[in-house]
Every structure is written in structure tokens, then in C-alpha cells.
Symmetry: C2
Subunit: 340 residues, 2 copies
Amino acid sequence: MNRSASIKDVANHASVAVGTVSNVLNYPDRVSQRTKERVLRAIDELGFVRNDAARQLRAGHSRTIGLIVLDVGNPFFTSVVRAAEDAAALQGSAVLLGDSGHDAGREANYIDLFQEQRVQGLLISPVGDVSERLDLLRERGVPTVLVDRLADEDKFSSVAVDDDAGGYLAARHLLDTGRRRLAFVGGSTSIRQVADRLQGAQRAVKEEPEATLEVLVSEGQTVLAGRSVGNILVERDRAALPDGIFCANDLLALGVMQSLTMTHTLRIPEDIALIGYDDIDFAVSAVVPLSSIRQPTEALGRTAIELLAEEVEAQHPRHRAVIFTPELVVRQSTAAPSAG
Amino acid sequence: MNRSASIKDVANHASVAVGTVSNVLNYPDRVSQRTKERVLRAIDELGFVRNDAARQLRAGHSRTIGLIVLDVGNPFFTSVVRAAEDAAALQGSAVLLGDSGHDAGREANYIDLFQEQRVQGLLISPVGDVSERLDLLRERGVPTVLVDRLADEDKFSSVAVDDDAGGYLAARHLLDTGRRRLAFVGGSTSIRQVADRLQGAQRAVKEEPEATLEVLVSEGQTVLAGRSVGNILVERDRAALPDGIFCANDLLALGVMQSLTMTHTLRIPEDIALIGYDDIDFAVSAVVPLSSIRQPTEALGRTAIELLAEEVEAQHPRHRAVIFTPELVVRQSTAAPSAG
DNA sequence: TCGTAACAATGAAACGATTCAAAGATTCGC
DNA sequence: GCGAATCTTTGAATCGTTTCATTGTTACGA
């Protein structure tokens, strides 16, 4: 119980050499049937479990990949994590997950921890700017792929989603269903995602001469912030109201939906169409099922692992930036208005 | 770049013995100021990072704790994980997180992986029954604490939340605010949590002679399932309606809320009070802010780590089962009706 | 100046798995 | 029955740390 059995114990118990036990574990074909059975029995009887530390020490590297995300609670990352785990499992690696919680200190701790663990490489959705900490990783030769953040291809590979394209998709969809007086609701445009989604929306609006896009800045990106914006809107003259609203995320959209439907005078989608972004679980079960833009999180996670594998294998890695295009999910909240 | 610097490289570079470098890292007081500086400079110049595998091999155990949860996406577990990480950090350990996704196969993989890693111990929220896999861990002497699941104290320590008490709290609150015709909405009572919460509610109702409790079984525990139940309710005669509804989780409650408020004839909380369970983020930002029962997730995570530490230290561990009582969070959805 | 105590530095041994050259056993054709 | 070829098994060396008994150094009081 105290000290767990080692390969040497197994060897003694089965009366073979340690090398043979190792062969049974790693190259079973090299070992005769009889011996194999004896060894396996011994392993079973002693409850032997390989010591990964020793294995790894000898091998010089681990079979794990470090993954540091900004917030495991965020469904976007949860989904990326799951995809990355599955993709890693396929190539025989395990993922060590770290949650930085947007905190640079925690991020640094995980980077250090993972380096000490000699992970094969690192997937990271970095806090703030791509910092010196990451440059240090590069110098140390730790293969690294940035997730949900574009990077200079001289320095890192990266996977990201094209937020401009997502914004375009959303606005184009509102225009395609006949809306012309659009509004964009988002937090500060100092958040890159918000700025990009807005930019894409503006691009779409420019394609329709008579279409307009009003920008409403919310205080944060929560349901409550959305409700505040909605409350301001319902005060307006009917004529001054937008007929299509694009929110920078689903939480905002759900908040706006609450305000608009609470008054019982405005109908979604007949009077105002509403589309969000992220396609969270709640979108489908909103009072009026919410149209949204879905990000290809599975592809992100899988591709991140694949890019990392490239980095690990290549001697002189040529970094790549892979950008995914999000997808429009149409639900009732943007159904075409019944009359022309 | 190829092979990272070892303690031996550092020793050469600083012209000291390897033991001295080790002392600088682990017992800085044993080393003279001059030497320490030379060594630290060498570490810096070579970009030396401790190899944890070697450390661990020598030590015989790692400084990590394995944590396997049923679903990292579930806010309950996310919160437990975070608390466990913080508590572990305090005692100098790191947490390796595994997400079984309710899948026994994935759970088994993580158990194996963590055993190979020689984790100090394991926190696990097990899939299905406490199985032979866990018994095996016990035989192997891997300290294990069950999370969110009571266990035989002969076998394991455990931390859990008292769902019966939670159910009692919720129903008692409805009764205290004057409601007498209560309804319970939940999925199948074959789910332990559902059964316990119902039982607690029944206990509270029995305390009031004229109070009644009707049980409505939903198909699943989602917003949509809640909406279905709500839709059935609004069809009823006003007189046959409950005046207080307790849902086995917040998703169900939000769904019920959607149905009731959509009709515009029933008001929450004036006509019907509504309370959920879990206190998810969405509860506070619902159309009518939702009262709920909050589970002490931080305490769960922290205590789990503490119990594990006890197991690790004690030679002949006496297992303990710690049960937490949840907490009532009152919001608008159960405000006392304006008139008596 | 010497002996002793306190302090610093040394380096071999150990942790447990994998590797691989070498030795030993078996099979086969003739 | 013999040599060659093939298949098995062996065990020492190795990975990078930590530990610890030992040796070397310094300081100080008598």
C-alpha cells in the first residue's frame, strides 16, 4: 500500500528481467506468449501502475499538452476545450487545463507549471496583449499556438474566428429579410471582438443604399446591460425605432428581448427583428427563439491541436494563422415580417 | 533550444556542484550569498526550468491533485473547480482537471492517467454508481474524496450538499410568504437530487395543516421542459392553479416563468410565486428576478481539498462525510403578495 | 596558535522507466 | 547433427532531481 509496485517488483515477481517487463508494456510482439502471460499476471497481482514521471524523465518530454483559457465557465471556451481534448486523445496526448480567469498572475503560474511539466506544447488564449511571457516561451522553444487571438505569423501559429465576417453575416441577414433601419448594440469598441463585429455590420449596411446603422453602446455585455438599452428604445417614437437589432452577444440580445416584449406593444420579429452572437444554449429557449451567429468552436479546438502537432514535428516551424468563418443560425426572432 | 538546460548545466556554468544548485532552489538559506548569486545568474542565462518529472520521481509523489467532474460547463462544477484550485494553491499543489462528461469511459481514462501521474489524491464526482473502479483506487491506497455524492464512511470521505434541506428551505419560504397551494416541478424522481428536494419540500408542507403540494413531472430539466409544464398550467381554471411553484432547478423555473408571463394574465409574484434551485447567473437577470436556492460551491471545493489533505497525512485515515446546507436567495419572484 | 563549532560545498546514490547491444535459445534447411 | 538465421531475454546505462554523509572553510575564544 505504502510504496506502489515498480517495474522491478514486477520483474522479480515474474522472474524475468526489467527490460522484459518494459517490452511487455511497450512492444508486446517482442515477447513470447508464455512470458507475456507471466508478466501480465504479476502486474495484475501487484496492482502495478506505470510511473509516468520516470517514463517522462527518460523520454525527455511528456505526453501532455497545456491549454490555458480565459474562463472555463464561458461556453465558448468550454466547447473549445472539449474539442481540443478529443483531438489530443486521438494522437495519444492528454490535455492539462488551466483557467487564467483573465488574470495575468494565474496565467503566469500556469505557464510556469506547464513548463516544469515539460508539456509537448501550449495552447493559450492569452490575457491582454501577447506579452513578453509568450516571447520567452518562444525563445525556450516551447511550441505554442494562440487561441482566439491572431498573432504575427513570424512568431506564433494561431486560430481565430473572423468577427468581421460574423458581423457582416448578421447584418446581411437582417437586410435580406427586409430590414433597413438597423441598430448595433455592443459594449465598448475597445473590445476587439465588438469593434470587428460592428465593422462587419457596417460593411453589409453600405451595400444597401437606403439602409442605416445606428450604434448603441451598452454598459457591459450582460443581460442587464441589454435590458437598459432596450428600455431606452421602448421610450422612443415608433417611427424612430430600428426595425432590426444586432447585438454583439446573446446576453445583450436576451436583455433587449426582455425589454421589448415586456411592453406588450412591440412584437419580435414582426416589429423588430433581433439577432445575437455566440449561439449560447439559452438562445434557443428564449421566449422568442433567438437567431444568432455560431462560432465554430469544435473546429477551433481541433485545429489548434493540429497546428501544435505541426509545430512539434517541424524542425523549422513555419507558423500559420487559421481563421474560421462563423455561421448564421436563423430562428424565430428574425423571421421575415408577415407583410411586405 | 533542442534540449533544455539541466541542473548539471547550471552547475557547470556557475562552477559549483549540482547539490549546490539544488540547495539554491530548495534551501536558499544553506547557501552563501555569493554562491547564490552566481547560481541564480547561471539559471537566468541558461533559461533553466526545473524538470518536474525528475523531481517527482525522486520525491515519489507529485504535487498535483486530480479532479474529475461530470461537466465543466455546468456552473455548479465550474465554481467547485475554481474553489478547489484556489485551496490547492494555498497548500502548494496544483489541480489537474478532467471532465468526464457523464461518460464512464472518459472517467476511467482520467483515473488511469492520474494514477500514472502519481497524483497526491483524487477528487471525483463519479459517473453513476460508486463503482469497482473506485474500490480499486482504495485498494491501491490512492486518497480519494467524493464530491457531490455521499459515500459510505467506511470507504471514502465525501462532501455534498443537503438537497433535502434545500427543498425544505424553498417550500418553507413559499409557505412563510403566505402561499398554501404549492406545486413541485422536477424531472424524474429517479434522479437523486430531484427526489431529495421533493422530499424536503414535502416535509415543510406537512408542517402547515392546510397546505398542499402537487407534484408535476417534467420531461427533462431544461427551459423548454419548464415551458411545457407552464403551458399546461395556464390552461387550468384559475382556482385550480397553485399559488407557489418550486422548481427542481433554475432552468425549469425560467421556462415556467416564460409560459406564465407570456399570457399576460398571470402575474409573478402576485398571482403565483416561483422559486428555483442552483442560483445560476441567469436567475438574477430573468424578466422577474428569480428567487433560488444557492449551493455553497466554494465551501464544497475548499472542503474537498481539506479532506483530501487529511487523508494524505493520516496513516490510518478515518473518513468523514461533510454535508453542507444550501442557502435561500430571495428575489422578486417570491415577494409577498401585496394584499393579504 | 590551536581546537572547535558553525557554516558551505561536494558528489555519489537513489527514484523507476526505457533503450539497446549482447547473450542465449530456438528453428530450419540440408 | 550442424551452422545460420531468427526470435527472446538480459541487464547496465541513462534521464534530472534531491538527499545526505562527508569534506572543506571560516570564525572565534582561549
